[in-house]
Structures are given as C-alpha cells and as structure tokens.
Symmetry: C2
Subunit: 200 residues, 2 copies
C-alpha cells in the first residue's frame, strides 16, 4: 500500500471518488462543528448529520470520535499549509499578517477546542500532542521560508518561534470578542521588531 501515484488517481473508480468526497465532507463538517460547538457538543452523529452522511458511513471512515476530530484538524491544517506555501513572494509585513491570520479563523478555534479537551481526556491526549507538534513544526518551517530568515544566525529561530507564539496568543484573545483593531496595531509594531531582528 505505497504512496498514491498520479496513475492511481486517474484509475480511481467512481466508487472511490464518492468515498473520497464523503470523507472530505465529514472532515469539513467536523471542523465546523468543533469550532462552533466545542468538544462536548461534537459527536460523530452530529457531524454525520451536518455532512448529510449516514452514521454508518461516518463510522466506516472514522471508527471513533477521536479518529474523526484529529483527522479533521489535521486535514484543514494541511490545506492551510498548502495555501501558505503557494503564496507569491511578498514583503515581510504581509507574511507576518498572513501567519497571524492562521490563528484567527475557524481552524484555530477548532484546534483550540480539541487541544483543551485533550488536556483532560487521556484517549485524546497523546494523539493531539503529536498532531500539534507536527503542525507546529510545519508552520515554523513555512514561516522561516516565507520570511526569508536565516536560522543559522543567533536569535533568528527564537524570534520566529516567539512570533508564532504571539500569533497563537492573539488567536486566543480573539475567541470571545472581535479583537481585530487592537491586533492590527500589535502586529504592525511587532513586524517592525521582527524585521529588525532578522536583519541585524
């Protein structure tokens, strides 16, 4: 069962296509559900109904609740990473703004609910920890590349890590109220500080 090749994809039967579409609909419904209702309100049944899929079909794709929601957060995180990597070359201020934007939408909200639930639910803990580490490393890699940063220079790696930590904190500050006006000013100032640190 190696990697899927272009030939495999071309040969895919209508049945496989339907299965893939069903899977995607479930994943997208799961992220939306988690973002809106939190972990306590997010079950396989609720997501199946939202996706217009039978509960049996949902369980065929995702045997457990944990399978469904960790896969959903990972799927959407990968979509976001792909979109980021495909951004055209642009100035550092725009890159910082795009990175901060990652933490203010429904994906961050969904991931936050999963993350917080994982801190109290042992069956979720190790899976979310691993997922979070993977997504975090990938986001850091993309940030370094988009910012054109040279991590061999002292302090550069930690500057970018701190920037992503700040973006995460800004996401949290945006959870209950629209924090956009304040956020814009904070991001403008820290863009100046980060640019200075990357150029020194």
């Amino acid at each position: 069962m190696g990697a899927v090749t272009a030939a495999d994809r071309a040969d895919r039967s209508p049945k496989q296509d339907r299965s893939r579409v069903t899977r995607q609909r479930l994943l997208e419904a799961a992220v939306a559900c988690l973002a809106e209702s939190g972990w306590a309100g997010s079950t396989v049944s609720v997501v199946a109904e939202r996706a217009g899929v039978s509960r049996g079909a949902a369980q065929h794709h995702f045997p457990t609740r944990e399978d469904l929601f960790t896969a959903a957060v990972e799927y959407v995180a990968e979509q976001r990473s792909t979109a980021l990597r495909e951004l055209p070359a642009q100035d550092r201020a725009s890159v910082v703004a795009a990175l901060v934007d990652l933490y203010t939408g429904p994906l961050f909200r969904a991931a936050l609910h999963l993350w917080v639930a994982a801190s109290n639910e042992p069956q979720l803990g190790s899976r979310v920890t691993e997922l979070e580490a993977r997504v975090g490393r990938e986001t850091h890699r993309i940030a370094v590349q988009l910012l054109g940063a040279d991590e061999s220079r002292p302090g550069v790696r930690e500057t970018i890590q701190g920037l992503l930590d700040m973006a995460r904190g800004l996401g949290l500050a945006n959870l209950l109220t629209d924090d956009g006006v304040r956020r814009e000013r904070v991001v403008a100032q820290w863009t100046v500080l980060v640019e200075g640190a990357l150029e020194n």
Copy 2:
C-alpha cells in the same frame, strides 16, 4: 453597605470569619478543579466535596455554577496581580520572566478552560468576556509599571501588548507538554527585542 474598614474587620465575628474561610476554600478548590478536569468536569457539587463543604453551603455562597467559577478565576487572578505588584524592583529580563510565568501555572489553565467553555455557552459568555477584559487591563497596567515603560512613546504600548500575547501563546503551548526548555530560549530572545523597543 460601604467599603469594609479596618474597624469592621477587627469587629468581625467568628461566624463571619468562618464564612470567609469557606468562601476562600471553595474558590481555591474551584480553580484547581477547573485546571485539572476542565469545564465539563467542574460542577458545584464536585468543588464542594473537594473543599470539604456541604453542597448547601456552597450554593449559599455561589447560587450558580457560573457564579462559582467566574468568581474563582477572578479571585486567583487578583491574588496573582497583588503578588506581582509587590515584587521588588528588578531588571527587565526578570520582569518578562515573571510575566510569562503568569501563563504557565494552574490559574492560566483554569482560565483557559473557562474561556473556551464561554465561547460555546451563552450564559457564561458575557461574564467571562468582561472578566477577561478586566484581568487583561490590570495585567497590562502592572507590566507597564514593572517594566518602567513610557507608553506616551510610539510603539511602546503595542510592544507590551504583543509581549503579553506571546506569553499567552506560550501558556497554550505548555498545556499538553512541558514546553519549558523551548520557552526559556524564546523568552530570552524576546526580552532582547522588548528591551530594545523600550529604550529606543
């Protein structure tokens, strides 16, 4: 029913003292419970048992679950603010470290659970939003004072806001795993950036 004066306190009856002690025990138990078990696992009954107080006495002090847990997070936040304000004068690196420490202990964990629950529970939402704004303003005020920052200068206010946002993001990164080693390096580098911005 004006402010409590020293004379009132001296006159306080043993019954009032017992009531105050009961209230404190409930508040401390509520924060510990929220930090360990999250919102779903935190009820007035669980907290009353943990505090060694009858459920009736707990409900006398806090008629609803929302009353108990918002009061608990506010109580502990005030204790932390008082402790911060009483810190002796020290260098900015120590101040930054003390500020970041605010976001890595049980208080942050408890507040995070309350915060995330509030994003899905209307009866909690407005109260937590207001509490969070109050605690946030107070933390900002203390940070400005301890860092000896002049907010009339351009960018200083946003530098400190971003620092506190970063601290919040570091707290989130510490939720599932001990992130202490990475955090120490990030804080060291951001201290350099903050010092530079405050002195320019």
